[in-house]
Amino acid sequence: MTLIRPQTGWQAIGFQELWKYRELLYFLTWRDVKVRYKQTVLGAAWAVLQPALMMLVFSIFFGRLAKVDTGGLPYPLFVFAGLLPWTFFATAVSNAGNSVVGSERLITKVYFPRLIIPFASVAAAVFDLLVAFSMLAVLMLWYRVPATWGLLIAPGLLTLLLLTALGGGALLAALNVAYRDFRYVIPFLVQLWMFATPTIYMHIAAGAERSSIVSDWLLYANPLTGLIAAFRASVLGTPVSLAALAWSAGAAVVMFAVGCLYFRRVEDSFADII
């Protein structure tokens, strides 16, 4: 029996129902992936090309001209190992942020757990991530960087990154419904976030003196700092900063919970105001 009652306030995330609707999640993800690759001439190559081109640009400007300290690693490999998780996160969060507003027809005509919508957008970005991994493998072979045991923790790190993206995506998606001009804020936020994350530079340059307390604090507070640095370290076989990682892991779980709970709290109004 299903009971329909007025509801206000906080709701549980409802994992059970999400699990029940997992096939819908699968189909929506599959649709996103398929449509994206059908609409472009290059198809799945985009998933590789986007970080690859960014790598090229950053390699020229930061690697060659600015000579950013990478701790002795080849800059292209260094920057790609950071861009890979970052591109995933940025794509996932911005697509998820616009997903609910873009699914007006679904929301006003069919019932299903609404969290499925931003989750499917994030899942579609996971697909791109997997494709882009092949490029990383090629780069590692090219620069003869051997795979180490550290690589084994990469899936765990990506899971934490996924949690952060799910939470952030759900939060932005919900805000986007309530405040329709939020979509102009999202790209700006993502851009800012990128510079606050050590993707194209190293967050603690070995032996370098601390330049500014504020920017340092911001870097550490950013939950992505630890994850992306740890991912790079695990792939390239350099030591992982456990303290930063622990903070990021905690932040990922909190971000997931806060994003999903806020989404659940306001989702009942979606059909009325969208």
């Binding site: 329909i4 009652r5 007025p6 096939e23 929506l28 449509v35 027809r105 005509k109 069919v110 059909a271």
Partner: protein, 422 residues
């Protein structure tokens, strides 16, 4: 006595209206921030924060639906029919009361929800099926039946964007037709599509009804409601006006003339229906040269008047009148010759001769096209009027069938001197 499949108790749904009288929708961050910034100032001036009004789309609605019952929901536009269906299908939450549903629920508020033009027919079948709540297994099992029903087998691997609208509609309905929940909620999906398609839909719903499913069917199409449903609920301004046997309720609805409004006037330009180009001031249906209060018979010539505000400087407009029967059948569409009107009020009058319309209840839709190019105004159900039957000089008292009832020239007489096999 088995437990009801659906029991609705004191159900209510409140919407907030914004100042312009429309439903309060999303806000913008910019507005909210500037509101928050100026809030202390407003408090100093003694103004209250929000001035939105409330509106109950549904209020105190209670009724039960037995298992295997087929229930029709009727009422005017804005009576709360769609809101009720949206609550039952869990798309929106009620503000008060509760609903208990027993059994697996499927809802069909639209045909083809989630269809993506870039995907092929086959891919859309799976996507749409999943959206309607079918499992992969179920869709695989019913795949052949779906393709059969739609009759689009040759185009399964063609993207739906290359389909004609009729074809994609057939495919969409074929998926929906395979939905076999215990409780099915259906909204006016029949309003779209051609006559054949509507017949197919009605047939499928009839099958489900005979198969012992519980159906809730919202429609303007009183004939369809009468044919399909055993019981009906008539909603009026968000409340249950009548609930009972379908014929009683539908007859009550028609007789109440609740559906009738032969004249409607909007006094303020701001509140009138329309847009920034054109707004409606008055609609009136009356016997020619008489007041709208006078009744209209089959042989009465009628004038349908529209008075509109033209809000642009000067425009060349074509008014277009579409007349529908209460069952939703389009009777005719008549387009006025282009006319140039200046800013301000103007009138359009359409004269409908006597002995054209059959007896029945009709509703009016008005469209306006600018520069013979773009439709700038399109509103349905502007007025509803009834045409009464007259005493006929022939010995036939049943209802004459047909959308119209023109008086045509007949000549009947002996053929001459020759008689067969004389």
């Amino acid at each position: 006595m088995p437990q009801p499949a659906i029991s609705i108790r004191n159900l209510g749904k409140r919407y907030r209206l914004s100042h312009s009288g429309q439903r309060a929708g999303y806000r913008t961050l910019r507005e909210s921030l500037s509101r928050a910034a100026t809030a202390p100032l407003r408090r100093l001036r003694g103004q209250r924060g929000e001035t939105s009004e409330e509106f109950w789309a549904l209020e105190n609605v209670s009724f039960d639906v037995r298992p295997t019952e087929v229930l029709g929901v009727i009422g005017r536009n804005g009576a709360g029919k769609s809101t009720l269906l949206k609550i039952l299908s869990r798309i929106t939450k009620p503000t008060a009361g509760e609903v208990a549903l027993r059994g697996r629920v499927g809802s069909l508020l639209e045909v083809g929800t989630g269809f993506h033009p870039e995907l092929t027919g086959k891919e859309n079948i799976f996507l749409n099926g999943a959206i309607l709540g079918m499992s992969r297994r179920e869709i695989l099992d019913k795949f052949d039946a779906i393709v059969d029903f739609a009759g689009t087998e040759r185009f399964l691997d063609t993207p739906v964007k290359h389909y004609s609208s009729g074809m994609s509609m057939r495919l969409a309905f074929a998926v929906a037709a395979q939905l076999e929940p215990e409780l099915l909620l259906i909204d006016e999906v029949l309003a779209v599509g051609d006559g054949d398609f509507q017949k197919k839909c009605l047939g499928r719903m009839g099958d489900l009804a005979t198969a012992g499913r519980t159906l809730v069917f919202v429609s303007h199409n009183l004939t369809a409601v009468r044919t399909l449903c055993q019981t009906a609920v008539w909603l009026e301004r968000g409340r249950v006006k009548m609930h009972g046997h379908v014929n009683d309720v539908v007859n009550g609805y028609i007789e109440s003339a609740e559906c009738l409004a032969s004249q409607r006037v909007w006094d303020s330009v701001e509140a009138a229906p329309g847009n920034e180009l054109l707004r409606l001031h008055r609609v009136c249906v009356a016997p020619s040269g008489s007041s709208p209060a006078k009744s209209i018979s089959v042989d009465t010539p009628i004038d349908i008047d529209f008075e509109l505000w033209n809000l642009t400087s000067q425009a060349t407009l074509n008014l277009s009148l579409v007349l529908y029967s209460l069952e939703g059948t389009c009777i005719f569409n008549s387009i006025a010759p282009a006319a140039t009107v200046g800013r301000g009020l103007f009138r359009g009058r359409c004269h409908v001769p006597g002995n054209l319309l059959n007896d029945g209840v009709y509703s009016i839709r008005l469209l306006a096209a600018k520069d013979q190019a773009s439709v700038i105004f399109d509103m349905s159900d502007l007025a509803t009027f009834e045409v009464h039957d007259v005493e006929r000089p022939i010995l036939w008292f049943g209802k004459l069938v047909g959308a119209v009832r023109p008086q045509l020239d007949w000549q009947v007489g002996p053929l001459g001197t020759e008689s067969p096999r004389g």
